[in-house]
């Protein structure tokens, strides 16, 4: 199958005016303006296959949203190529957007002063959704997203979590092939986040919708995505599976052991003790020095174990290390 998203050497520059400072500077600004080019996206290449659920990660200002906006047809690229679902998004806007959905966590795509249900009904006309399909989809989403309690409330009066659910429903009523989610869980509480994640998984699995999502919340990524793209300073640092990212840059794994009795110094080769609280001991070990099962069998030869648990490094920590130490720079 051909990829649904094809992006090559995509760039976006913004013109930023440089202001002269001070009182006289303000006058100089009237006459001469100087511009600096800010590179928001600087030569990105990737492809997404139909049905994939891809996480797009990066710190603030990395160029995530700019990429999503170009993919959604809202921004015109400064250079490079972009082909989504066979369309040039910005040039063939009307035909293109009929087959995609997009949700921006920071702002709604619904009409501010209309009750939710009226916004949704308006979408039926805008996307020309056949009546029975519209009813069927709406019934399903009402249930899965629990929309019924606020369908009659104007969008401006909704809570953030309710608004996100309404926006997700709105983005999917017309059966898009592709869904762009820009920070879909931003500012939500744990329960609301979980509900949104379940829904994203549901539409990806059950309906085969291709999803590209940006997020700051790495548990989103951990729970949803098999593949991640990492971007910083407009450049793609990593494109691959989440597990291999952890394998390569994850740092140390941990083994939590609850011994049957207190040992004076329960050392074992290949691991270091980091925490000791009576009979509970935490070891740290490198994944390329020893496997978890190897370590466990070594320990059980030496000591009597009541219980144990292997902890993978937090993905959050992994990605932070990637940003901070620029681990992927020369890659």
């Amino acid at each position: 199958m051909p990829p649904i998203i094809q992006v090559s050497h995509l760039t976006k520059y913004f013109k930023v005016s440089v202001h002269h400072r001070g009182f006289w500077g303000a006058f100089r600004n009237l006459i001469s303006r100087q511009y600096r080019l800010a590179r928001a996206v600087d030569g990105i290449t990737f492809q997404v296959q139909p049905g994939e659920l891809v996480g797009y990660l990066g710190p603030n200002g990395a160029g995530k949203s700019t990429t999503i906006k170009m993919l959604a047809g809202l921004l015109v690229p400064s250079g490079g190529e972009i082909l989504v679902n066979g369309y040039l998004p910005w040039r063939e806007r009307q035909a293109y957007v009929a087959k995609i959905g997009a949700v921006f966590g920071q702002r709604t795509t619904l009409w501010w002063d209309l009750p939710v249900i009226e916004s949704l009904e308006l979408l039926q006309y805008i996307y020309r959704i056949p009546g029975d399909r519209f009813r069927r989809n709406l019934d399903e989403f009402r249930q899965v997203l629990a929309l019924d309690s606020f369908l009659d409330i104007p969008v401006r009066a909704l809570s953030l979590g309710q608004r996100m659910r309404a926006d997700l429903c709105a983005a999917l009523l017309h059966d898009p092939l592709l869904l762009f989610l820009d920070e879909p869980t931003i500012g939500l509480d744990v329960v609301a986040k979980e509900r949104i994640r379940q829904f994203i998984l549901h539409i990806n699995r059950a309906r085969g919708v291709t999803v590209l999502l940006t997020t700051h919340d790495l548990s989103d990524v951990e729970k949803l995505c098999e593949r991640v793209l990492i971007i910083d300073h407009g450049q793609l640092l990593y494109d691959g599976e989440l597990t291999s990212l952890r394998d390569r840059f994850g740092g140390k794994r941990r083994l939590l052991v609850d011994f049957a009795q207190e040992y004076v110094d329960p050392q074992v080769e290949g691991a270091q003790i980091t925490v000791r609280e009576g009979s509970r001991v935490t070891y740290e070990f490198e994944r390329n020095t020893i496997t978890a099962s190897g370590l466990i069998s070594r320990l059980s030869e030496l000591y009597r174990i009541r219980d144990l648990e292997v902890r993978e490094p937090e993905i959050e920590e992994t990605v932070r290390r990637i940003y901070e130490q620029k681990l992927l720079e020369n890659h």
């Binding site: 913004f14 949203s65 906006k69 959604a72 047809g73 809202l74 921004l75 015109v76 910005w90 806007r93 009307q94 035909a95 957007v97 009929a98 997009a102 921006f104 966590g105 920071q106 702002r107 709604t108 795509t109 619904l110 501010w112 002063d113 209309l114 009226e118 009904e121 308006l122 979408l123 006309y125 805008i126 996307y127 020309r128 820009d182 920070e183």
Partner: protein
């Protein structure tokens, strides 16, 4: 095929206008008050003359009522919705939907204009009929021509308002530019006074702009100043300008969308 969407957008916009009854009432009485003021000024100007530039005193008073009635319908003084939508970022949500952006706003403005017609336009003429001696079109044909002319004037005026609002795509503070657009409309449309009262050079100058066709033509058709071939020519000129202005809007819009920068998020 697009009719259901157009109708649906228009009727929602209509309902929204109707919902703000207090605003409509306040707007109506403000308009009526200024209408009386303008009528009194014009009456003083006539100074017992029966007629000026082919318009009777009753006609001049009617002119003030008609133009005051059009303030709401045509939104002659202010309309910043597209500009505000660019600044709030709501434009992004609208551009993500498979619909023409111009038509999307046109439909909403149709609903708004119709609501204003019932809330402020029609009551204005009724109040005028009660308090003053006003004239009305004499024949069915003239009524038809008036309604058609009013419709074309609304379309043209909307296209102008939409076009000046597009300045928001270019500059982060377009308020001054949009206001300038409304000031031009105010002076050249014949809102201030019937254009016939102005010197010839001014009338000829304004004829090269779209503005007279937004207000003055409607008034002259209502008052019966334009008849026969002149009337048909006036309607044709309105239609011509509406088409030109809509074309300009579409061209400017596609250029604007390409340089759109949506901040944040």
């Amino acid at each position: 095929m697009l009719a259901p969407l157009f109708f649906s957008l228009a009727s929602r916009s209509f309902q929204r206008q109707i919902a703000y009854r207090a605003a409509a009432l306040a707007g109506f009485f403000t308009n009526f008050f200024f209408g009386m003021l303008r009528a009194a000024l014009l009456a003083a100007l006539y100074n017992a003359r029966p007629e000026m530039a082919g318009i009777s005193l009753a006609g001049a008073v009617t002119f003030t009522g008609l133009t005051q009635a059009m303030i709401g319908v045509q939104s002659l003084f202010s309309w910043y919705e597209v500009m505000n939508s660019v600044y709030s970022g709501a434009v992004a949500g609208d551009l993500l939907k498979p619909m023409g952006y111009f038509r999307f706003w046109l439909a909403q403005d149709a609903g708004r204009a119709l609501a204003q017609f019932f809330l402020r336009g029609l009551p204005m003429m009724l109040f005028y009929a009660i308090f003053f001696r006003i004239t009305v079109p004499q024949t069915f044909g003239q009524w038809m021509a008036f309604v058609l002319s009013l419709g074309l004037a609304w379309l043209l005026c909307f296209a102008w308002r939409f076009w000046i609002n597009l300045a928001g795509f270019w500059t982060p503070n377009a308020l001054g530019l949009v206001r300038l657009g409304f000031i031009l409309l105010y002076f050249f449309s014949g809102f201030l006074m019937p254009l016939r009262f102005f010197p010839d050079w001014f009338v000829q100058l304004s004829a090269f702009t779209p503005f007279p066709y937004m207000v003055n033509t409607v008034v002259e058709i209502y008052l019966g100043v334009l008849q026969g071939p002149q009337l048909l020519q006036a309607l044709a000129q309105q239609a011509f300008w509406a088409v030109v202005m809509i074309g300009i809007c579409q061209l400017t819009l596609s250029a604007g969308v390409r340089r759109l920068v949506i901040l944040g998020g």
